[in-house]
């Protein structure tokens, strides 16, 4: 069975600084997708960034980028120029390619952004 592990329950970053959230996963599949979802307090979860396992290039979305290390099964999220609106719970998630997109989530990292 696939598992996703986020070892940092909480992180804190100052506004305008950079922070990296860690995620590791375990799978025997070679083709899969990895996601970072953001869940702000009392608001719905939204997709931050997606990585396709067969693509070597790391995905980037504006201030958000990932460091995808397939051999190490590691998928970290880097947030640059952190803003107050980045404060949220961040979930790393995995799904196998080619089948129903059933997400397996990690337990989340709560990110605080301070002035």
């Amino acid at each position: 069975a696939q598992t996703v592990t986020q070892s940092q329950p909480e992180m804190s970053v100052q506004e305008a600084e950079t922070v990296t959230l860690s995620c590791t996963y375990d799978t025997s599949e070679s083709d899969y997708y990895l996601f970072w979802y953001k869940q702000p307090p009392s608001r719905q979860m939204i997709l931050v960034i997606r990585q396709e396992a067969y693509k070597q290039q790391n995905a980037t979305e504006n201030r958000f980028s990932v460091n995808f290390q397939k051999a190490a099964k590691s998928f970290s999220l880097k947030i640059s120029d952190s803003q107050l609106g980045d404060a949220a719970m961040y979930f790393c998630a995995y799904t196998r390619a080619g089948t129903a997109s059933k997400l397996t989530f990690g337990t989340g990292t709560r990110l605080q952004v301070t002035l």
């Binding site: 979860m45 939204i46 997709l47 979930f91 080619g98 129903a100 997109s101 337990t107």
Partner: protein, 114 residues
């Protein structure tokens, strides 16, 4: 704006009293999902519909059922809620079933069982 709507946002029920949570979507997506998220835990998929085809996760308790009367609506029925069923219930949709599909989430319904 197109979105995923969950009602109510907070639901209180009594131990053993059936409860229904609802989800609607204006995205016209084929797939709808229900997740259970307990405090400080990862969201866990309960089941999903691809159109009218129902797909139950192997470890979803029999106490949980779902209905999808049309494309827009999906319901989660808990037949006899126990204290352990208190959680946030998240509804999500996606256009298709492929792994590359983005899931769009509703704000969730927080269920309290007394």
């Amino acid at each position: 704006d197109a979105m995923v709507i969950q009602n109510p946002r907070y639901q209180v029920t009594q131990f053993g009293k059936p409860v229904t949570l609802s989800c609607s979507q204006t995205l016209n997506h084929n797939v709808m999902y229900w997740y259970q998220q307990k405090s400080s835990q990862a969201p866990k998929l309960l089941f999903h519909y691809y159109d009218k085809d129902f797909n139950n996760e192997a470890d979803t308790p029999d106490n949980f059922q779902s209905r999808r009367p049309n494309t827009s609506f999906c319901f989660l029925d808990i037949r006899s809620p126990g204290l352990g069923d208190a959680a946030m219930y998240l509804c999500a949709t996606s256009r298709g079933q492929g792994g590359q599909e983005t899931q769009y989430f509703g704000p969730g319904t927080r269920l309290l069982v007394l």
